[in-house]
């Protein structure tokens, strides 16, 4: 586990998200909800790969901007009856700084439906 500070908490709008691009190109979306909890998921919906960072955040969920799938911020899982899971990462707030462990992804490397179909 190695956390790196990526921004200040207030750099992420409440009920919003920011994107962090890893060296290998993978984009991680870092979310902040109304209670100032932070979450990190791969910026890719398990449905058709939509950028979750651009969705509407509510409670502990985000609605994908492409087709409105609801993804749990805490576990990366799509809300039933949709099925799928996006990679989640460890993230925390320390002294007002958002710290992300960009290599902590859990869940098998994701294959989204669009890719699987090809």
């Amino acid at each position: 586990m190695s956390y790196i500070a990526i921004c200040k908490l207030e750099d992420i709008p409440s009920l919003g998200a920011r994107r962090y691009r890893r060296d290998d190109g993978k984009v991680i979306a870092v979310f902040r909800n109304a209670e100032d909890k932070v979450f990190a998921l791969q910026d890719k919906c398990p449905h058709k790969g939509g950028p979750l960072s651009q969705g509407i955040v509510f409670g502990e969920s985000v609605a994908c901007p492409l087709h409105n799938w609801c993804i749990g911020l805490d576990d990366g899982k799509a809300a039933a009856p949709d099925e799928g899971m996006t990679e989640k990462f460890s993230v925390r707030v320390a002294d007002g700084l958002v710290e992300l462990d960009p290599w902590s992804g859990v869940s098998a490397p994701m294959v989204c439906q669009a890719e699987a179909a090809e």
Binding site: P13, L15, G16, R18, P51, V57, F58, G59, S61, A63
Partner: protein
């Protein structure tokens, strides 16, 4: 499971009781420690589908709604095969036939109904059964395997389904019916005649106006041998199925001293006379009516769950019911009151040769009843008109021919869901075929359109196949599928409707989303992706310059002021007033396209250029270097004003349509609305700008301008309706603007002008805008006030509250 939770005991493990529990778990999971008692030895199954089981089209496993695993997963204690025989209200405890005692804090009675048994001699003979549960069904299936002749007493819905099933199982079946025609509570004489003919064609025999006098035993005296009718005729029979009606099973409630009148009497919150005891389903009498179809039970379940969850805001005020016979190959629908009566009128279409009969009953310009035979495509739509009490006077001449809802796109001519092959595509947006929908309905036990949308995605995108999906639902789940409630709540976060939310914002002068949530007691702390954008719009349109925009409650397109594409890039559409551009603009566009490697440039239908494939990071620079106003192609706002070249160039042009269009666009741009708004101005009736399918379409004629409203070129093409005729450019601006302001103030979020005008009526819009000059001026002024100082988000992002940080990806410090 914690011990200090209040205990909810449910008596009755059927569809109504378990549906209530499901609704309760949705609202307040974990509020109660729940115990369910069922007298049958099975988990909850779909009683509506007993007929397909009898007919051999489905098996019992197919119709189980909640498996034992489901109960375990939800921490519900399930006792099957145990009959509750006593309620001790003082000790707040129920007792079963095997002596189990279970205390309760809240008790839910869902004991269902019992079949009515004719009090005739021989009713207790072996071979005489009723048709109520899976046990009866299994007995019928067994009897059909070993016996030949069956008589079904009762030519109602259940009796005919039983007769059909037994016939399919190879028995000779005669239906004995007391009344002059079949299904007299659902059908008129003509439709019943058609039905009888179809069923006779399937091999069923009928005895109408026949009363059963006795059931005669065989030589042993124990087993049934024949049915004796009042005329003296004796029908040989090995099996008799009594399907002459049901009555609420209220015995348990009665023995506990609860008030009974036909059924267990409940109020509008589904409470019995003992406030700790609720009741739902076929055992209850609500406002004097005991319902025997599933749709009302589900409505009751929703209300009851709301109160059990301690929300306390739902009311049940009775249901309209519709019926569909589940006999394969018979297309029949009936709803409401079709017997007419004083002051009612009939519209009838009868084509006996084609086996089609339709009768619509109208009273006071409202549809009150409908009987459809042979072609039930519009059943769901007509039922909606009945339930909502829609004024049908304007469509009287067309109502018989149904809603054209079924399809401009993809499913033209598909009017009979029943005969569609399983492989036929129903939803063109999501590629869902009929077979997938039918399977989902059967396998998941779906009853509502919403459920089908969630599970299959069918009709969840553009919605143009909604009618077809409803039909398939009706056909598969039976006519008593749960139709959408009359009052449609905004989303799962609330029971309030769009109108109620709009009214509250205006009356209470609410200025922020949290204030709305607090005042209207939202169930979720910060709403969801459906309600937040709607409320944000309502606040801004009701209180311009007062309410503050919340960008996090807008969809991404309106937050980043560009259209998101499937690969996560964006498209940029700069505004070209009235579709006119010049060399300087085109040069800048070309330069931007080269500099930012924009892969595609496309001419849009709205007469401007779309730059596709722009990276999010590049958006601010692209806007700046284009140096053209935002085209708002991404917003629920004024998009374009399409124009023809008009009298400046065209040899037919009567008016300067380009100038008129530019004036309109300059007056209305930056105008947010419930949905996107498109205008067009044509210089003569040849209408090259296609004004006939726009939200506001203006057509120049020699003497002035004609204004048309509420057209739509989208999912379903709708021709705009004539609104008024005016003389000057100023009048065009004022009338068009006033109409759009009316839409902005009173439309529901995501409602296009065509749906808004259909809902409130064109006459209403004319009266507020055309006839009432003072009101028109006031509307026009309010619109100008709202637009005054509204910034262009591309060029005044700070003023427009654009979050500029979103365009820069994070890099570690």
């Amino acid at each position: 499971m914690k011990l200090d939770k209040p205990k909810l005991v449910v008596v009755g493990n059927g569809m109504a009781g378990i549906r209530t529990v499901e609704e309760l778990l949705k609202l307040s999971p974990g509020l109660y420690d729940i115990t369910v008692f069922g007298a049958e030895p099975h988990p909850n199954y779909n009683r509506i589908l007993l007929s397909p089981v009898l007919a051999g089209e489905q098996t019992f496993d197919d119709i189980v709604l909640n498996t034992r695993e489901w109960y375990a997963e939800k921490h519900i204690t399930l006792h099957t095969g145990k009959k509750v025989v006593k309620i001790d209200r003082r000790a707040r405890c129920v007792e079963t036939d095997d002596g189990t005692r279970e205390p309760y804090d809240r008790l839910l009675l869902a004991t269902g109904s019992d079949p009515f048994i004719l009090p005739v001699p021989g009713k207790d003979l072996e071979g005489v059964i009723t048709y109520r549960d899976i046990h009866d069904t299994e007995r019928m299936i067994a009897a059909a395997a070993t016996h030949k002749r069956a008589v079904v007493i009762g030519g109602g819905l259940l009796g005919l389904e039983a007769a059909n099933g037994l016939k399919l199982r190879g028995m000779e079946v005669t239906v004995v019916h007391l009344m002059p025609w079949l299904m007299e509570r659902q059908l008129d004489r003509t439709a019943a005649g058609l039905l009888q003919r179809t069923l006779e064609g399937k091999g069923l025999a009928f005895r109408l106006e026949a009363k059963t006098e006795a059931l005669l035993p065989d030589a042993t005296g124990k087993r049934l041998a024949a049915v004796k009718l009042n005329g003296g005729e004796e029908l040989p029979a090995d099996l008799v199925v009594m399907a002459v009606g049901i009555r609420p099973n209220a015995g348990l409630a009665a023995s506990a001293g609860l008030h009974i009148d036909r059924g267990v009497v409940v109020n509008d919150t589904m409470q019995t006379y003992d406030p700790r005891i609720y009741a739902v389903g076929e055992c209850v009498a609500h406002r004097g009516i005991a319902y025997g179809l599933v749709a009302p039970l589900f409505e009751q379940a929703r209300v009851c769950a709301n109160h059990l969850a301690q929300f306390g805001i739902a009311r049940y005020s009775g249901s309209q019911v519709s019926t569909k016979l589940k006999v394969t190959g018979v297309d029949l629908f009936s709803a409401g009151n079709f017997t007419g009566g004083e002051g009612s009128e009939d519209i009838v279409l009868s084509d006996p040769g084609a086996g089609v009969y339709k009768r619509l009953v109208l009273k006071d310009d409202k549809l009150i009843g409908a009987v459809l035979y042979g072609d039930t495509v519009d059943g769901a739509w007509l039922f909606k008109l009945i339930r909502e009490g829609t004024n049908v006077a304007p469509m009287r001449d067309r109502i018989m021919f149904g809603e054209s809802n079924l399809g401009d796109t993809g499913h033209q001519g598909q009017s009979k869901a029943a005969v569609m092959p399983d492989s036929a595509e129903v939803c063109g947006c999501n590629g869902v075929c009929k077979g997938a929908i039918v399977n989902a309905i059967k396998a998941q036990g779906l009853f509502t359109l919403e459920d089908v949308r969630k599970h299959t995605k069918a009709s969840s995108s553009c919605g143009s196949c909604t009618g077809l999906v409803e039909q398939i639902l009706m056909f598969t789940a039976g006519g008593d599928y749960s139709a959408a409630p009359t009052k449609k709540s905004m989303c799962g976060c609330t029971d309030h409707t769009h109108q109620e939310v709009r009214d509250a914002i205006r009356q209470q002068h609410l200025l922020s989303i949290p204030a709305v949530y607090q005042f209207l007691e939202w169930r979720s702390p910060n709403g969801c992706a459906s309600c937040r954008p709607a409320i944000n719009y309502y606040l801004l349109s009701t209180w311009p310059h007062e309410a503050k925009d919340d960008p996090q409650s807008r969809f991404i397109n309106e937050r980043s002021h560009a259209n998101i594409q499937k690969d996560g890039t964006y498209s940029v559409v700069p505004r070209m007033w009235g579709g006119e551009t010049n060399s300087a603009e085109l040069r800048r566009i070309a330069d931007v396209v080269d500099k930012y490697n924009i892969p595609t440039v496309k001419v849009t239908g709205g007469q401007r250029l779309d730059l596709l494939g722009v990276k999010k990071e590049d958006l601010p620079a692209v806007w700046k270097e284009l140096d053209m106003p935002s085209g708002h192609a991404y917003a629920k706002a004024l998009r374009t004003v399409k124009t023809c070249v008009g009298s400046d160039w065209c040899r037919f042009g009567t008016q300067n349509s380009t100038l008129m269009g530019q004036q309109l666009e300059r007056a209305l741009w930056r105008m947010y609305a419930p949905h996107k708004v498109k205008l067009a101005v044509s210089g003569c009736p040849r209408n090259c700008a296609e004004s006939g399918i726009k939200d506001v379409g203006v057509i120049g004629v020699d003497s002035g301008w004609e204004i048309y409203v509420a057209g739509n070129g989208g999912i379903k093409t709708e021709v705009a309706e004539f609104f008024c005729k005016v003389k000057t450019h100023e009048e065009v601006l004022e009338y068009s603007g006033a109409f759009l302001q009316l839409y902005r103030e009173e439309g529901w979020y995501l409602e296009r002008t065509v749906h808004f005008v259909k809902r409130v009526g064109l006459d209403y819009c004319k009266q507020r805008v055309v006839e009432d000059a003072a009101n028109r001026k006031a509307l026009w002024e309010r619109l100008q006030f709202a637009l005054d100082g509204e910034p262009d988000p591309w060029h005044e992002p700070e003023k427009a509250g654009v979050d500029l940080k979103q365009f820069i990806p994070l890099v570690p410090a």
